[in-house]
Amino acid sequence: MTSSSTQARPAAEFPGRSVPSLQRPPAPGVLFACRTFAWRTLIKLKYVQDHLGTAVVFPVILTLVFTYLLGGAIAGTPGNYLQFFLPGVIVLSLVASSMMSALTLNRDIATGMFDRVRSTPIWQPAVLVGTMGGDVLRYALTSVVPLALGLLLGFRPDGGFAGVVLALLYLQLFTFSVSWLWMFFAVLIPQPTAAAGVVNLLQFILLFGSNILAPSQTMPGWLEAVVKLNPVTHAATTTRGLMHGDLSGGDLTAGLLACAALIVVFATPTALLYNRKQR
């Protein structure tokens, strides 16, 4: 039988559950906004095996495989090769690890996370700036693992402690710069799988089209020319030079210019695209 429906709202079937009201605090400041996204980056480090994989496992495997499997063939002895290759491994791991935050951002845009962040009064660029801030610690961890392993296996940087520290500082700058490249594609390409595909392919080209694995002088002329256009090449040369204490002024300039070029070309378009982004 139908009964006439009434206007009054029925009593809750499962009463008693409610959330007490909580006054909204004043809008968060810029620094707090950045710290929030830095915090998010760091807690994810703990949970996401991908992050740990790129930060720890990947460089270890790479170092062992290249040094012992191919090192003898490339440089005579594994020990010799290690002196050349180890700074490159650090660059390699850092570049791989620098993609992670961009892929997170890309996923945020694809899901509703971007909308939720956008609808809050938070300082919006904190998403980019804060995340990159949190990444500093991640990059430090990422570079320490292969370095420690290398030292254990017989890597002896001629530049000494100071050289190594300078090299690591330079690498923070370089990784920050190169992460704008990934951020650019993360914001440009809406579909996460497509974005991940492009970013991975590009990473592969950048890493293997560089002088990380072998000196560019040993390559055919055309390839050497291509490799010298790659910012990763200049980062690897600079890192090696700093660690071994034989960096030329020209190479240092090239290493710094590579960072500047990445930032100039990719940071502004990324920020603009991000601000205009509407799903």
Partner: protein
């Protein structure tokens, strides 16, 4: 700013065009402060689009929209200080735990870490998610994810809360719990704009309803108004003698011009009736003809009937007529 302080939302001729699609085609929406306002419409009607414009996430192609008197485009940051949002697509980081997601949501609103954590724990408890709070969200069931997502828009009490299909995918118990929480928010003075696919939910929850289709308002009013304004009521008559059903049907159709349907129960007769007076007349006619009635009920049409009647056909002229009819 111009604008009526009693209104939480006011839009005028809001248009949003995506390429060929006119997602919103001159939407005029008004939401009274302190009410639960339901937006109903078939898939693709423009509900989410409207909500995103109001939540400052999309720019309208033309027209304007105000939230508490603030223009959503020019004064977006003032609007953002007053609203919360649970969108149709999930706003969670699946590589974080439920607790961490709620802390993040709290910090985005400006809560310091410790109060944000305390609040997150409180919400987990209220939404019965405490046991899974420390697990990664990607291991959650669909309903658990949805509940965390709804909880995340309650980390602070918003003056205006947008909920885009908040209960989709929830089991009846969880749905009713979410309703309960939404009601409490309104008791505290909040305003809720809600879309839903569940008409019973709209019927029971909303103070006011706006039905939209093809980006335009098709009807508006309280659930009761909508039901009485559009579709007819139904008089259900149970006859003592089933063999006289056909006779009774013909009689009623002739005497009051009502539409009559036979039910699968051979003694039951369904009579479409515009109001209670006509119902009384119908029963009188039956008595005069000596057809005895065992029982009868007078029911209002369900919102489903109204919804179908209003959106089931698509010519623009019809739509305009109905709109005028309901407003009158």
């Amino acid at each position: 700013m111009t604008g009526n302080p009693a209104l939480a939302i006011e839009t005028h001729e809001l248009v949003k065009v995506y390429g060929e699609t006119r997602a919103l085609d001159g939407l005029d929406l008004t939401v009274r402060t302190g009410t639960i306002h339901g937006v109903l419409g078939p898939n693709g009607a423009g509900k989410t689009t409207a909500m995103k414009i109001l939540a400052t996430l999309l720019q309208p192609t033309s027209g304007n929209a105000q939230v508490f008197g603030h223009d959503v485009v020019r004064e977006a940051s003032a609007v953002r200080r007053r609203i919360g949002l649970t969108g149709q697509t999930m706003a969670l980081d699946e590589d974080m735990t439920g607790l961490q997601n709620l802390i993040l949501a709290g910090r985005l609103q400006g809560l310091r870490h410790r109060p944000a954590t305390a609040r997150a724990e409180q919400l987990l408890e209220a939404f019965e998610l405490t046991e899974v709070g420390n697990r990664l969200v990607k291991t959650y069931s669909g309903g658990q994810k949805r509940r965390i997502d709804v909880a995340a828009s309650m980390v602070v009490t918003h003056e205006l809360l947008f909920l885009d299909e908040p209960t989709t995918g929830l089991d009846p118990r969880s749905r009713s719990e979410v309703w309960q929480m939404i009601r409490v928010l309104v008791q505290d003075g909040g305003t809720i704009l809600l879309t839903t696919q569940y008409l019973d939910e709209a019927d029971q929850m909303a103070d006011d309803l706006t039905l939209i289709d093809h980006g335009r308002v098709v009807a508006r009013g309280t659930p009761a108004e909508l039901k009485t304004s559009r579709a007819d009521g139904v008089l259900e008559v149970l006859l003592t003698d089933p063999s006289r059903r056909a006779e009774a049907g013909t009689l009623l159709a002739r005497a009051i011009g009502a539409g009559v349907d036979a039910d699968s129960d051979p003694s039951r007769l369904l009579v479409k009736i515009p109001d209670a007076d006509q119902a009384a007349r119908a029963l009188g006619e039956l008595a005069r003809a000596g057809i005895s009635v065992e029982d009868f009920t007078l029911g209002q049409p369900s919102l489903d009937t109204v919804f179908l009647a209003l959106t089931g056909h698509s010519t623009l002229d019809d739509t305009r007529e109905e709109e005028a009819e309901v407003r009158a």
